[in-house]
Structures are given as C-alpha cells and as structure tokens.
C-alpha cells in the first residue's frame, strides 16, 4: 500500500505493508532515525512524534492510519542552521545525558510549548509523563522546558578556564537534533538480522531436533557448535557463560539458538517452530534454595553453589559489642533490579578481510574486543570495536550481549549482520542488580560513637559469575558505612542460583549494604537520643582517620562537610513536617538522611587508563579518548581537562572516542572511575603535549598558547614565538594513570582504593498511611566530588542516581517471566521524582585531575536509605525489604498499630 502524508512539513510517500508501525517506517524507510524505539509497546515514549499536532507513540500507529495526516519528528524541530528554542534550552540545561529519550522528550514538550511558553511544573509533568528517562532524574528536563523562553547560553570558556565551567556537552547538538547514532541507528541496509531463541525455563536440559528445514529457509541457524570458544565472563579465569547454551540452560532468557536471515524473515519464525525438546528441572530460586544442604549445583564445578566469599576484620567486634551502650540489629533484603536503560542492546558486525568490526552500544570497548577475540578464537588485533552512542548503561552494558553472535555470524557469512534486542528480551537476557540479604549489627557508646559492627552480605549472583566477584569484594570494604568504627567484621558471599546473572549495576552492591547500615545509624541515633544527622556527623570518616581495611585517609574525605551543608535544610524540613503532621489526616510527612562512601575504581586491582592528545600538521587538535561516554559526560569533561592541561580552549578540540583502532585503552566506564582515572590520564596527556610545545618554542611553564590554523603562537612574557605546525610535524602527548592500590590480605587489610567519594542526602516524604503509598517531596544531595570539572554534568549524575535510588526504594522489582517489560516493571516517571537540589562539596583529591574524584555511582547510594529513613520518621515503620511497595508499607503500618494500642 502507498501512504502519502506530510512529514516535517514536506510531502512524504511511503510504500509497504500498512500494518507496519510508524516508528519502524520512520526509522527504516524515511531516514528519521531520531525517533527511537525503546520498547515497541507504548511504555517508554522514546518513539513519541506529533500526529496532527498531538503526541503519540509512533510504535503504536499503523502506517495505514497515517494517510493524509501530518507527522512531526525531532528532525523537524530545528530551523535551518539553528536549534529550536526548546533544543537550545535542553542543551544549555544539560537535559540530555545519553540522549536516547531526548527526541521523545523534545516532541512531548513541543506539544506543550505550542500551547503555552510559560508552562507550570504540573503541566510539564502531564505532558512529559509518558516519556521515560533513566539518566537524568528529569530535573534538568523539567527546568529546560520551563525555561524555554529564556535559554541560558554560557560563553565558551577561554583557554585555561574549561575546568569548573558549565560547558555544554561536546556531543550535545547531535543529541538534541536526533542525529546521534545509537546501536540500532546506522545498521547497513543489506545486513542480515539475528533473532535469538531463548530459554523459557529457569533450569532445563534440552536437545535440538533437525534444524535442516530452518537452515534451508534462513541464511544460518547458529547453535553452541558454531561458537569457537563457548564461554565468556568478566574475569580472565571465569568464562562460565556460554554464548549459546549447550544442552543445559541455567536461567530464563538464556540464549539457545540464533536465527540469521533477512530482516522480516527472522521475527516471522516463532519459537514454537524451532525444534527444541525441553526437559525442565526444578530451578534454584533465591539464596535459601541455593544454600540448602542438599541443593543441586547450578554449575557442576562450583561446590556449595558458592561463587566467592571474603571479608574485612579489624579489632574484635564480638568483644566490643559487650561494652556498647546501644546495639542495633536487622536483616535487610533487596530484589533483582533491572537497569532499564531506554536503549536496548543493539549492534552490527562486518567482516573486513581477516578482521571483524563490531559496531555496538557498550560501556567497555576494550574488554569487548578481548572477549570477542577469545570467543571467536582470533587475535585481539583482529577485532575492532566501534562504540556507537550508548543509550544508557548503568553497568548493564559491561557484559557481552549481541557482540559474539553478530561477530560469529558476520564472520561466517561474509555479510553484515545486525541484532537488536526487543525490550522483553533485553530484560530477560541481561544482568541485574544482585538481590541481597544483609544481616547487620552495629553498636555505639553512650556518646554515640560507633564501637563495633558486624555485617554479613549474602548475594544471589544468578546463573553466571559476571561481575559477582566485584560485588562480593567491594561490599565488605563499604559495609560499615562511611564511618570510623574501631571493631569491624564484614563478610560478603555470593551464591549461584537459576536467576538471571547478577552483574554490575551502579554501586556494585554498595546500595544494598547502605540500606542496612543507614537503618542501623537511625536506630542507634534514636536509642542514644542523638539527632540522626548529628549522629552521623559524629562518626563520619575524616582526613587522618584509619578505615576498616587499615588505610589512612590522607586527603579528601568530605562527609562531615556534606552533613554540615545539609543541616539547615534538615532542621527546616523537620519543622515543616512536624507542623504538617500536627494537622492530622491520613497523610504523614517524614524526613530522612542517608550517607555513603564509595571507592573510586577497581577494588585492589590495577585499572589503568591511557589517553592521547594530538596536534596535527594542519593544526587539528584531537583528544584520542578510549573512555566511552554512556551519557555521564566523559567526552565533555575529558576535553575540559585536556584543554586546560594543554592551555588551549576546549572549543578547539576534536574528539575521537572509543574506537579500539583509533584510541588507546582507557578501561571500562564503570566503578565511577573515568573522571578520576581517565581524567588524570587526559590531564597527563595534555601536559605532555604542552611540554613538547614549550620545548619546541623554548618557552617557560607559564607561556600562553593560541592556535590559529596551523600556526601555534607561544607567548612567554612579552616574547611571542610562532610554530608552523606544518613544518614541526605531528605532535602527540600521552598520559597513563593507574590509581595506586594494594591487595587485601586474608583479613581484608590493605589499600583497596586510591580515593573515596562521600555523600549525604536528605529526603522529605509524604506517606498516605491508609494506602501505604509514598510520595517523595524533596531531595537535597550533598556530594564531595573533589572538584566538579563540570557542575552541570555532576548535578546530572547526582539527579539521575537519585531517581534510580528512588526506584530501588519504592517500586523496582524484577521477577523473571512476570515483570519482563516496562509495563509491569516500573521505573520512576517525571511525576515520581521531586525537585533534587545538589550541593557540591569540593574537598580536593591530589591524585585526581584538578582534584576531582568520581560521581557516577554515589548519587544512587544514599537515596534509598534517606527515603526509607523518612518513611520511618513519618510512620514508625522500618523497612526490611525493598521495594517498599504500597501493600508492604501498609502491612507494616497495620502491624505497628497492632503493637501500640
């Protein structure tokens, strides 16, 4: 059928099957890849377009329904050569992080600003309520829409002034115009597509029948036999996850068979058409099942189903509890949590001679390269990873997804091969946050000084190791919280189950532990009659203190400053809550505080980064940056850091990012390490280039540089020397940084991290005590970041982390087979996340670039504890299991009423 309609003001003609979704037609046939697909089910709003001026999900509109109508997409917003006011406002406010939700947000907002340019917050929420954003916490998006008529555009910072400036993202224009190419956006038209057939069982044996008939219909049908080395995993010595299962599946969603064929062909083959004979076995679900004495093994060579255990011991906790004035205990449980990045896993591969090139959305191109090489049994140099824009990762795109399958298929078939996960597939297949059971006991003296703590954190690591060891290692170091405790015993252990593989998720287990230690702080504060904030202040780790691993904090431990900064809001909020509650009624308000610390980078492991800054004979100044920007803004801050290190304006920098052929290994984007580690490497690379320039110009260290074309002027005092780069030849500065750490001994003693971020957050909530619902009214977040290289980006990280922490506390629970889509798995919408005020504390870390540490994960860690503390303050109910769904809270309220007549 032919469909004629108006697309972004011009006549468009489309021909095809009329039941085709408008989203698919726009992206695949009409060149409008700015319209994104996050779910194909109306749940995420990434595909939002205007149809006759009204916002709709283009994934829910049939092309047959578009005839004669008007469609507007993000591509139609900008004026020629100029951003629309809304786009400019998004850019200036830092409203786009990864940018995958941005086109949908812009379009939804466009419908509103056409009606009113001075919308209220409530109107903004109503119009944006159908678009999910997992990165920003919505704060800056709401600000951007409300300020659409008065966009603030800061001038580009001058040479030497980039660090600390609110520079707009260097990749921001691509994000607000819909031009940024994500994993599914630039797939070659002639590519074959893969659809993966996955296990419907959590644990089963299976045999494959005759695949001959299917193989005749398709280009290829891949099974375990087609994978040269059928095991992958994060750790060099644990390659336990098969690319395609071999006769045995260990979790629901595990990949079994890959169908390779023409784009329309592979979805037409139903799972039922693939001859797999299943023999389901009773699955091991949850920690108790895995640790039962007679539990069958998930992995044959893993006795007790144990992945890893270990702990930290200092002083004598048992003896010390006896002398405590107050002791508090509790067992806290958390659920599987889904990353829910709005961009599902996607990519395509192509064989180029004897090499394989993989274009993929990823957080870790260099690990991908080595892992794909291992699976395909190629040399690492034979694999090129070209990261596409990444539509959110949060840890979930650190593990392989589509990479090995598209690689193997493209290698075999000699044609480009693509794979894009559907939303349910993404949710079923990918890693999750570890469910935890944290058993905590803390004691303090009569003055409220912590004396002892004993924490055991048990994790469900799912079917495969993934990042489980990282979680089990990191948590014992952090489980006492950011406090000075002389007698400590902590223990972390992770067990295999038939759940989805639990991997890396913003915080690596620390958010789960924080829920426990912060509840203990509240209880001890109450028991000793000390204000909850002051109790934490009294115990905060400070410079000069020794941590439980025996590390002396020499610099940059700003928790006390964070708490000082919160204090005015804390008192004001308590008074407001008391006044509100005095009026009675079914709503009660409460205020809570949560604290955290977070070691930056890998735990007691080398994690170097190497960066380069080049200056070409034509005067092109380029940062070769192997760190991937997954929305957090590393592209921008690396440029800011490098620019000041060289002494040239950030605006003169070009960026080459991520491509393993063109950059050097900067390590993975995880553990909040890129600002600190790669930032420092970028700083050194910039300094190296500057040294080379100064040497050539025979100039002193304070010389000022200016670059115009191929002419580089070096002004030293009154003397100016001009270098003609065409004759100087190419210059390349290089910097390497590996944060100094030491291994931990059997008692967990050593230096696990070179530096730590600290934070304290405060939450105000309103609880409907009759229904058990919680509305978060306000969050104030004080973070010690060492130095904010770009305050806008730092705030964005904090606000995004807070929103995820809110989800963790109140609504997110992944249940395999039951909440495998964004309809049933709830993440916060714009209506759930309150205004988030950020207070940046800059307690300089001398090792970091300009004193900076990391902030990627810390934003999330204190939020759930602060919210749950506020709920307790409002209702008296202590939360031992998250998410605190309305029915769970209501149950707690009823039980409490039973106890206190």
């Amino acid at each position: 059928m032919k469909v004629a309609f108006t697309l972004n003001g011009t006549v468009a003609e489309w021909e095809g099957v009329p039941v085709t979704r408008l989203a698919a037609a726009l992206r695949d046939d009409l060149g409008c890849t700015g319209t994104k697909i996050g779910c194909d089910a109306g749940d995420c709003g990434a595909c939002t377009v205007l149809l006759d001026g009204r916002q709709v999900c283009s994934c829910l509109v049939a092309m047959g329904q578009v005839e004669g109508r008007t469609v507007e997409t993000v591509e139609g917003l900008a004026l020629p050569e100029m951003l629309a006011a809304l786009q400019a406002s998004f850019l200036a406010h830092g409203a786009a992080q990864c940018g995958i939700c941005t086109p949908g947000m812009l379009i939804a907002a466009e419908e509103l600003v056409r009606r009113t340019v001075k919308p209220t917050r409530a109107e903004v929420e109503d119009f944006l309520g159908g678009v999910l954003c997992r990165c920003t916490g919505y704060s800056k998006i709401v600000d951007a829409v409300m300020a659409v008529t008065s966009p603030v555009r800061e001038a580009d910072p001058a040479a030497g002034e980039a660090v600390g400036a609110r520079l707009s993202r260097v990749d921001g224009i691509a994000k607000v115009t819909g031009k940024d190419a994500f994993g599914a956006d630039a797939i070659p038209a002639d590519a074959l597509w893969i659809r993966v057939v996955r296990s419907p069982h959590a644990r089963a044996r299976f045999t494959l029948g005759d695949l001959g008939p299917l193989r005749k219909r398709l280009a290829a049908v891949l099974t375990a036999a087609d994978v040269p080395f059928n095991g992958f995993g994060i750790y060099p010595d644990i390659k336990d996850q098969p690319v395609l299962a071999d006769g045995l599946v260990r979790y629901r969603g595990e990949a079994v068979v890959a169908l390779v064929g023409a784009r329309a062909e592979v979805p037409a083959i139903r799972d039922e058409d693939v001859p797999i004979v299943w023999t389901p076995e009773p699955p091991l679900l949850g920690i108790d099942a895995a640790t039962a004495p007679d539990a069958p093994l998930v992995q044959a060579d893993r006795p007790r189903n144990l992945l890893l255990e270990g702990g930290v011991k200092r002083g004598d906790a048992d003896a010390a509890f006896a002398d405590c004035a107050a002791v508090s205990e509790g067992v806290f449980e958390t659920a599987f949590v889904e990353h829910a990045y709005i961009e599902p896993e996607a990519g395509w591969a192509e064989r180029v001679g004897d090499r394989i090139e993989i274009h993929v959305t990823t957080q870790t191109p260099y690990m991908d390269r080595d892992e794909v090489a291992n699976v395909m049994q190629l040399r690492p140099e034979a694999v090129r990873i070209v990261p596409t824009a990444c539509g959110g990762g949060f840890g979930g795109k650190l593990d392989l997804s589509v990479q090995p399958l598209i690689g193997i298929a493209a290698w075999k078939l000699g044609r480009p091969v693509a794979c894009v996960y559907t939303r349910p597939e993404s949710m079923a297949a990918s890693t999750k946050r570890h469910p935890a059971r944290v058993t905590a006991k803390f004691g303090c003296d009569a003055q409220g000084k912590l004396v002892a703590c004993d924490v055991r954190a048990t994790f469900d690591t799912g079917a495969y190791a993934s990042w489980g060891p990282t979680v089990a290692n990191r948590v014992p170091v952090h489980a006492m919280g950011p406090y000075a405790v002389p007698n400590v015993r902590t223990w972390g252990e992770a067990f295999f189950t038939n759940g989805p593989p639990a991997g890396a998720f913003r915080g690596f287990g620390v958010p789960q532990a924080a829920i426990a230690h912060e509840a203990m702080m509240d209880e001890l504060a109450d028991a000793t009659g000390i204000d909850r904030l002051e109790f934490r202040h009294r115990n905060a780790l400070r410079v000069g203190d020794t941590t439980a691993t025996g590390q002396v904090l020499a610099h940059s431990a700003g928790l006390a400053q964070c708490l000082d900064a919160l204090r005015p809001a804390w008192h004001e909020a308590q008074e407001k809550a008391a006044a509100f509650n005095a009026a009675g009624g079914p709503h009660r308000r409460g205020v809570g505080v949560g604290c955290m610390w977070y070691g930056i980078g890998n735990t007691s492991m080398s994690n170097p980064s190497r960066m380069r800054v080049g200056l070409s004979p034509t005067g092109a100044l380029t940062l070769y940056n192997g760190a991937v920007d997954i929305g957090q803004g590393s592209n921008t801050i690396m440029v800011q850091i490098a620019a000041d290190a060289v002494g040239l304006p950030a605006a003169q920098f070009a960026l080459v990012a991520g491509d393993t052929d063109l950059t050097t290994d900067a390590g993975k984007t995880s553990a909040s390490r890129q600002t600190f580690v790669s930032g420092r490497a970028a700083e050194k690379a910039g300094q190296d280039l500057r040294q080379q320039i100064l040497r050539l110009a025979n100039a002193g260290p304070d010389a000022r540089l200016s670059l115009e074309g191929a002419m580089l002027a070096v002004r030293d005092g009154t003397e100016v020397r001009t270098l003609d780069l065409a004759t100087v030849g190419p210059l390349m500065g290089e910097g390497v940084f590996d944060p100094p750490t030491t291994p931990l001994d059997a008692d967990g003693q050593g230096v696990p991290y070179a530096t730590y971020a600290f934070a304290a957050q405060m939450a105000e909530v309103e609880v409907d005590i009759e229904l058990g619902t919680v509305k978060v009214l306000r969050i104030v977040a004080a973070h010690d970041v060492g130095k904010a290289i770009n305050p806008t980006l730092v705030e964005g990280q904090i606000q995004g982390g807070v929103a995820q922490g809110l989800g963790l506390a109140l609504m997110e629970e992944y249940l395999p087979g039951r909440t495998e889509n964004l309809h049933d798995y709830l993440i916060p919408t714009v209506g759930d996340v309150p205004a988030i005020e950020c207070i940046l504390i800059e307690d300089r870390e001398p090792l970091g670039p300009s004193g900076a540490k990391g902030v990627g994960e810390p934003g999330l860690v204190p939020t759930a504890p602060a919210i749950l503390g506020a709920v307790h303050h409002a209702t008296g109910v202590r939360t031992y299991r998250v998410p605190l769904l309305p029915h769970r809270l209501r149950e707690g309220i009823v039980q409490l009423k039973g106890k206190t007549p």
Partner: protein
C-alpha cells in the same frame, strides 16, 4: 502477511467482518501484544470511519462513538455526570496513550484493570453492537464476560457506547491507586455516580475495578447510600461487607488483602470527594 483494510464507512467494515479479522482502533492494546513478532493476521482498521467517532447528544442521553479517544472525551463539553469518566481518561497511560487509545478499545480489550470500565458501569452505559444483521445493545456489565472476554460475536463491531440521561442532577468521580504516577496499571480503582435530589442521594451507582476478573458494581453499598443525606458523612456508609462481589488476587502489584482494604479507603475518599 495478512490483509489490511481501512474502510471509510461502516457498511464496508461490517462486510469485511464476515471473515475473521482483528479490529484495530487506537492500537494501544493491539501493538503491545505483538512485540518482536510479525503481524500475520488480517486487520480491520476502524479508525478512519467517521461515523464511529465523536460524542453527540441523543434524545435519551449521549452517544460516545466507538473510536472517540480519551483526549477527545476529556476535552469535550459534557455535564458533571461525566466527571468520573473524564478523570479516568486523564489517568489512562500518559498523554500519548490518551491521544490514541479509544473508549471502545478499552472495553473490548476487557482487561480487569481497564480504567474506563468502572466509570462506564457507574454511568449505566450500554454498548451498541452492530453487524450486517443489524444492531443490538448490551449493558456493559453483560458485555464484558471475563478476563479479555466479551460477548462480541463473529461479524460484530462495537459502534458506540450510550450513556443514559439521569433523572436528577448527578455527581460523578473516579479514584485510581497505582504504584507510580503516569503510565501505571491500577492496583485498584473505583468510580461512582450519585444522583442527588432534595439534598439526599436519590440514586447511586458505584463500581470497582482491578479487584475481580471483571469490574463490579457494588449493589449493597449503592442501596446503603440511597436516601442518605448528601454530605461528608456518606463515606461512613462504606462497609467491608459491601465488597462481596469482589474477588481480589495477589499479584506483582499488590496482595489480595491489601486490595480489599485499599478499596474501602478509595471508596470512602471517592464518596467524600463527591460532596463539595
């Protein structure tokens, strides 16, 4: 690949329905049920039929065309009788869903959590069903027969929903309980229409959704309300025994016990909210 028919008039649509095909209106239930697979069935797209769209007044009440969208309903000038249905419309999904999703689609999809159903039950709505053989009309309660089941027979299309005029001035409302704001399936919801005469409740219709396979009216509560003074004390009339028609279940959104208790709260708030 199946056929795709987009008739402009009703007769053509009814003709098409003589063979099995799936009706497509706003698509907001149709497409989510088909993620990651090709659509192979024959599709009858009714969104282009002018006669099915829009709201009009009739001698006995109002006719809501089958493909009237939630947004069109919310923006229509209607008496306070429709306040509950409009409030439900504002709570369906987000704006994108309200701009596309239709009233008839909501009842034909027959989800236990369909937000349109309790207010339409409270409005005593009748479903207008048309086939080549002619028209028939069914009370909404008789139309939805189970989870995702309706009384529609092969060859039939829902062409409109009729809302009768009330005898007395009416107050109407809707309350929804969900675990987040926007885009949320109801844990429970309730809607009521009260007709008021001489300061007293002259007629009452109250319905609850997401607490039974099909949303239910609560006749005992309705009876208890009739004759009562139309004031804030109405909410005191709600009693647990009134919930007998409900059979809430445990699911990922809430426990059965919680639902039962929450519904009482919702009903009390709903009733007191109707009194200015």
């Amino acid at each position: 690949m199946g056929d795709y028919l987009r008739p402009r008039d009703l007769d053509e649509a009814l003709q098409a329905l003589t063979r099995p095909c799936t009706v497509l209106a706003g698509g907001t239930d149709f497409y989510p049920a088909r993620v990651g697979r090709s659509v192979t069935e024959d599709v009858l797209d009714i969104a282009g039929i002018a006669a099915l769209r829009g709201i009009s007044e009739t001698p006995t009440g109002w006719r809501l065309g089958a493909t009237t969208t939630w947004s069109e309903l919310v923006e229509a000038e209607l008496p306070s009788l429709f306040d509950g249905l409009k409030q439900a419309g504002r709570e369906v999904g987000g704006r994108q869903i309200q701009n596309a999703g239709t009233l008839a689609g909501n009842i034909c999809n027959a989800s236990p959590a369909a937000d349109g159903v309790p207010p339409l039950l409270a409005l005593d709505a009748e479903v207008e069903i048309t086939s080549l053989a002619g028209n028939r009309s069914l009370a909404l309660a008789a139309f939805i027969t189970g989870v995702r089941k309706t009384a529609l027979r092969p060859g039939e299309l829902v062409t409109a929903i009729h809302v009768p005029r009330t005898q007395h001035a009416a107050r109407a409302g809707f309350v929804k309980l969900g675990a987040r704001r926007y885009l949320v399936i109801s844990i429970a919801m309730a809607s009521a229409v009260l007709e008021v005469a001489d300061g007293k409740v002259a007629a009452a219709r109250v319905a609850v959704g997401a607490c039974s396979p099909v949303a239910q009216r609560l006749p005992a509560l309705e009876a208890a309300l009739i004759g009562m003074a139309f004031d804030k004390s109405l909410s005191n009339r709600v009693e647990a025994t009134h919930l007998a028609p409900l059979s809430p279940i445990d699911d990922v959104r809430g426990s059965a016990a919680y639902r039962s208790e929450a519904v009482l709260t919702l009903l009390r708030r709903l009733l007191s909210g109707l009194v200015p």
